[in-house]
Amino acid sequence: MMRKKVIMALFLLIVVATVAILSFGTNSKKAGKSATANTQDKLAVIYVEGVITGGRGTTNMLSETGGTDALIKQLHQAAEDPSIKAIVLRINSPGGSSTATQEVGEEMKKIRDKGKPIVTSMGDMAASGGYWLAACSDKIYANPTTLTGSIGVYMPYSNWEELYKKIGIHQEKIKSGEHKDILSSDRPMTEKERVILQTIVNEIYEGFVAVVAEGRHLDVAKVRQIADGRIYTGNQAKELGLVDELGNLYDAIDGTAKMVGIEGKPKLKEYGNNNPLKALLSASDKAELLKNMLLQMQTLPAEQSHSYVPMVVPENGR
């Protein structure tokens, strides 16, 4: 009887001691570790994936595909974190909305002006708007087979007039001005409208050329020569001066670390959110959640997305 009590008492003592040591001892060790980790120099890795669109993007149960609002937020967070010495922008994008791209490019310039370098690493594709962003960075790494370039602008337009006639739909409009229904799909474009839109496209194109010329330290005339909208491989882009180094993401990370004086393997902080639980809880309306899921399943090219904003995307880019 006594023996049982003694054994159990000893056992409970061991349990209490173990809990105390592991629980409170681990806490102080982790606090020390996290304090060191927080102050250690790091590199931020921010991703630009898919078509660049403005706004808050879409969220579904499996992932969050950001609009540029989220991307800009991440850039700001990285810029304001004193432990982050430089930003590696991983671009895997065929381009997208010129305005959205321009917004991000401007923010990148502001961050660089404050002394924090941004280095681009190109993935499969960093064309058009993707290249616009890359041109706003300090240094560009591309794989030899990366598809880049496509420096140009287009505005998609479809004329569905014949189809409407075939199925017996007749559209009419009461409009306040001659050009209020510009880009309307139910009638051909007039010459005046073509001139108006061409002016817009040209203006945005000149802006794109200026960004590339400034970012890559190239002559504007030379940029215009290579900016006829064609895509280039990473190799070709390097020969033309559109890209600095050939290498993958880890080459870019190592190069960036050397650039800012981080020795050895740099600590990385990745931005972006792929938390399905958070995505599920933030979609309050069941129809909205489902709609996002169904839209995500579609893989429409940019020109079929019923948007008439000027695009910096290759014709067949997705």
């Binding site: 009887m1 049982k4 009590k5 054994i7 159990m8 008492a9 409970l12 061991i14 349990v15 209490v16 173990t18 809990v19 040591i21 592991l22 629980s23 409170f24 681990t26 806490n27 982790k30 606090a31 209020k180 229904d181 510009i182 880009l183 309307s184 799909s185 069941k286 129809a287 489902l290 709609k291 169904l294 019923h306 948007s307 008439y308």
Partner: protein
């Protein structure tokens, strides 16, 4: 306290005899203390391994309240099912017996200590010990039901598993119901998407 330590010792070494003894002489208050202390120990040690720092007190409090609720609700459900199957016993005795069984949760603590000293394979050791203790707890709960309600082993197993079976059936029914709702909502959305007007500036 001395008697409790002996009962706990016998629960590990001679569980059937211990459960009989607990059923006859065990104190409900003591059982509640064992539930709370066991939950505290296992939660504190789990939190330390997962690295939860801030909010630990709140988490611990929620764990204790949750465990007490589960302990009470489980006993109530088993009592109802046991009575339906012809068992004769008191829910207080069942609560006391199952409360003492919560002590087994503490047995995982030494394995955390071992895994901290020998980090290689430590995670596997903790998972394995946790699984063994879980199975052992289930078996002892079945013995407890059989002892308290004077039922056969088979009936005790049925009583123990019945809530889980009902839960799984309700989940399946809910899945079909949710699937039906999703299908009808998808239908509404598809109809909306077909009526497209081009955007206008």
């Amino acid at each position: 306290m001395g008697n409790t330590l002996e009962l706990l010792y016998d629960l590990i070494t001679k569980p059937k005899e211990a459960l009989q003894q607990i059923h006859q002489t065990g104190s409900l208050r003591r059982a509640a203390e064992i539930v709370v202390l066991s939950t505290m120990c296992s939660s504190l040690i789990a939190c330390s391994q997962v690295g939860i720092g801030g909010g630990k007190s709140l988490l611990l409090l929620m764990q204790i309240i949750g465990t007490l609720l589960v302990w009470a609700i489980a006993a109530a459900i088993w009592h109802i099912i046991a009575e339906m199957l012809g068992g004769q016993g008191k829910v207080k005795r069942l609560l006391t017996t199952t409360g003492f069984i919560y002590f087994l949760q503490i047995l995982v603590v030494p394995f955390y200590l071992i895994s901290a000293i020998l980090p290689a394979g430590g995670f596997f050791l903790i998972m394995l010990s946790g699984f063994i203790i879980f199975v052992w707890t289930c078996v002892l709960n079945i013995f407890a039901i059989a002892e308290v309600y004077q039922l056969s082993g088979g009936k005790a197993v049925l009583i123990y598993l019945m809530p889980w079976i009902v839960f799984i059936m309700i989940t399946i029914v809910l899945m079909f119901a949710i699937g039906g709702v999703i299908m009808s909502t998808a239908g509404e959305i598809m109809n909306e998407e077909l009526l497209i007007n081009p955007p206008m500036f």
